[in-house]
């Protein structure tokens, strides 16, 4: 049985060109970029040129890019780094209820450090209201963090509008763009954000590498102590091969963005149409028109998500829901809970399907049949 991967929002297969480039670098360049000899310079050159190319492709200056171990570290650095460095300006932070745990749990940790955090709600369509963010702003606010695209629903959030309206406020604006990068055109100046998170493995790059864009005006305190890498903002020897792989992934994502978006959108539409042809009941969660091409979150009435995901996996379809919690069991999604309210059936019968490089029209067709089979089995067995 062919296992079909419909979980590209969790992670993506590494693009062959990325892998090729990484292998070359890993083989040929082992030097430490901080070393003051030929080996070091060779490595340093690769890191610098990757930094410069990536920066250019998102409208940033190379000095504004901090390589991190991934999206989680970048989010942590954005929140904690800004909060601690700007305490003198206030102690209030705004995030949204549907942020990734990399932001939410960091905000909760900052609350324990004495910061006040406002959690902006999300509507039933999965969207944050700009007014809600503005209403939450106070003279004490030092940071606002709103994700660009939600990782579970794929809903696009009004980051540019928030940035425009916050223009004259002291607070910095951070956006976790992990699910947006490569699918939406991103120019940090046009978008108007001060900090922005990107992760490589969501765009067919390697795991273990990401970046935080930090506008040159942002005051940031490093979270790690050690060497002076990344302009003293992120100590630790750079992973040269991963950085170069990230560079390649960014290049491919940006250059082929429009064609990928069209391709993923077509696969998603084929999947939805395929489900409609099967005799099963389902609804799409959130505003479909405002969703990125690769993600759809679907509620299947009269099913239970744990049984559904297990069934799908046993039938060779990989999808996901919410986040795994202790001891491997599935918790109701905090994102859907924020949208629909605690205890609503959507929070326990919804699955996220996300499309990408591992999909073809053929395996999507097979997947819809398998999904229909699992859903039918469950709705019949639960009765």
């Amino acid at each position: 049985m062919e296992h079909i991967y419909l979980d590209h929002a969790a992670t993506t297969p590494v693009h062959p060109q990325v892998l090729k480039r990484m292998c070359e670098v890993e083989k040929e360049t082992f030097g430490n970029p901080s070393s003051v000899h030929a080996f070091g310079r060779k490595a340093r050159q690769l890191v610098d040129s990757a930094r410069s190319h990536i920066a250019k492709r998102m409208g940033a200056n190379e000095k504004e890019i901090i390589f991190t171990s991934g999206g989680t570290e970048a989010d942590n650095l954005a929140l904690v780094g800004v909060a601690r460095a700007n305490r003198d300006k206030g102690n209030h932070i705004i995030v949204t209820a549907q942020e990734h745990h990399a932001v939410l749990h960091t905000a909760e940790a900052l609350e324990k450090e004495g910061f006040r955090v406002t959690y902006v709600p999300v509507d039933r369509q999965g969207k944050i209201a700009v007014e809600d963010v503005m209403d939450a702003l106070t003279s004490e606010t030092i940071l606002v963090s709103v994700m660009y695209v939600n990782n579970e629903t794929g809903i696009i959030q009004p980051i540019q509008e928030i940035a425009e309206q916050m223009q004259h406020h002291q607070a910095y604006l951070h956006t976790d763009a992990v699910q947006a990068f490569g699918l939406l055109a991103i120019d940090v100046r046009e978008l108007g954000v001060d900090l922005l998170t990107v992760s490589a493995h969501k765009i067919n790059g390697p795991k273990g590498i990401g970046l935080l864009y930090t506008n040159k005006d942002v005051q940031l305190q490093s979270l790690q102590y050690g060497g002076e890498q990344e302009r003293k903002r992120r100590a630790g020897t750079e992973d040269v091969a991963r950085i170069v792989g990230f560079e390649k992934a960014v290049e491919l994502a940006v250059e082929h963005r429009i064609e990928r978006v069209e391709q993923y959108q077509a696969l998603k539409q084929q999947f939805i149409n395929g489900l409609q042809e099967q005799d099963i009941a389902f609804q799409i969660n959130g505003d479909e028109q405002n969703t990125v091409a690769s993600i759809v979150n679907i509620s299947f009435p009269n099913t239970a998500v744990e049984a559904l995901l297990t069934n799908l996996d046993l039938d060779g379809v990989a999808a996901s829901s919410g986040s795994a919690c202790t001891a491997g069991s599935v918790e109701p999604s905090h994102v859907l809970t924020a949208m629909y309210g605690s205890g609503d059936e959507h929070t326990t019968n919804s699955v996220r399907f996300s499309f990408g490089l591992a999909n073809t029209p053929e395996n999507i067709q097979t997947a819809t049949k398998r999904v229909a089979k699992s859903v039918t089995r469950l709705t019949q067995s639960i009765r």
Partner: protein, 368 residues
């Protein structure tokens, strides 16, 4: 062919269910491992023992190359098992949560879940056997007398048994350990869990006091002589000697009963004190695995506690799934709330919950 037969096995992270999964895999079945999370014991540091147990399930399933999943039955467990557990203590009785867990969780909620995954059979690591004869299913004792767990499985129905596999039923525990070691299973040397699953290794008294207010009161003999204070009736069970804190001259003291209304714990002296003995009981919620084969009045053997030897009894059926059970020889420390389980040789016929205790046809009110 076995590879077309899907067997979903409940895996706890212990050695028994690990070996059960191994044996099924060796027999060529399409084996799927599932870990049940029934209790949230996350401490203030976010650590829970369930996580460690799940990690053991993952290790073993990776060794066996079978898929594994987890399922959360915390709500069902709370509603069906823990609520019953607390209610029984409130009523002054000594509940048996393992019997209820098997009835409501492992062989109901979990079985339904497994069937929804296309399972042909559900397996567990229990020491018991299922025998099929002419389309009928019987529950038999595990061949390891010391480990036989049919006592806890007395509420299973024939319909459930028709879809159950107990791969360890024909093995002694020592053999199970040996198989685990020979196959280098990750759980081969893991200690067996003891006590009630959700309490684990914690102090029972401290655990219970988190959920039920303790009401200390007087310890008296049945003649009303005050012998001391008790910490709360729920902490004591019939026949208990430990923890009474009354010593002195003569034989040791034992719990013989409880008066819930007056909050009195009755104690008497001597292991073989006659107040601890009875000759009949009634039981409620009686389940017969093959009810059509049960007569109105019949003789068989019974267990009143886990790991006790069988005793000959005469059973008379009453209305409302109740039975009256007369013992051939008087029994010590029969405890309301515990299970009475009936056997015909190696066949487990079914069982119920001990409710009232009698001696010479008079109910022993003092037992509680």
């Amino acid at each position: 062919m076995n590879h077309d037969t899907r067997v979903v096995i409940g895996m706890s992270g212990g050695v028994d269910s690990s070996v059960a999964a191994l044996l099924l895999k060796q027999q060529g079945y399409d084996v799927v491992g599932i870990f049940m999370k029934n209790w949230d014991d996350t401490d203030e540091f976010g650590v829970c023992t369930a996580t460690e147990d799940f990690e053991d399930v993952v290790r073993v399933c990776n060794q066996l190359d079978i898929p594994y999943y987890a399922v959360n039955f915390e709500k069902q467990y709370w509603d069906k098992v823990f609520t019953y557990f607390l209610d029984e203590y409130k009523a002054g009785r000594t509940p048996n949560p393992d019997v209820m867990c098997n009835k409501e969780i492992k062989f109901k909620a979990f079985m339904d879940h497994a069937l929804s995954l296309g399972a042909d059979y559900v397996a567990t690591g229990h020491y018991a056997r299922v025998r099929e004869q002419k389309g009928r299913f019987e529950l038999l004792r595990g061949i390891d007398d010391n480990k036989d767990q049919t006592y806890f499985l007395n509420q299973l129905t024939e319909d459930v048994l028709s879809k159950v596999m107990f791969p360890l039923g024909h093995l002694p525990k020592s053999e199970v350990r040996k198989i685990a070691k020979e196959n280098d299973l990750a759980t081969a040397t893991k200690k067996d869990s003891t006590g009630i699953c959700f309490i684990g290794e914690r102090n029972f008294k401290a655990f219970l006091s988190e959920y039920l207010p303790a009401q200390p009161g007087e310890m008296q003999t049945l003649d009303g002589v005050v012998k001391g204070r008790h910490d709360g009736l729920m902490y004591y069970t019939i026949g208990q000697r430990q923890g009474l804190g009354i010593g002195g001259a003569g034989d040791p003291w034992f719990v013989v009963g409880k008066n819930i209304a007056k909050n009195i714990l009755y104690v008497e002296q001597g292991y073989s004190n006659k107040k601890l003995f009875s000759d009949a009981l009634t039981a409620t919620d009686v389940n017969w695995i093959q009810s059509d084969k049960i007569n109105e009045v019949f003789t068989c053997t019974a267990k009143f506690r886990y790991r006790q030897d069988d005793s000959p009894v005469t059973v008379t059926l009453l209305d409302n799934n109740q039975v009256h059970v007369v013992f051939k020889e008087s029994q010590r420390a029969i405890t309301p709330g515990q299970a009475v389980v009936f056997y015909d040789g190696e066949i487990c016929l079914g069982g119920g919950t001990i409710d009232k205790i009698f001696k010479r046809e008079c109910q022993l009110d003092y037992v509680g």
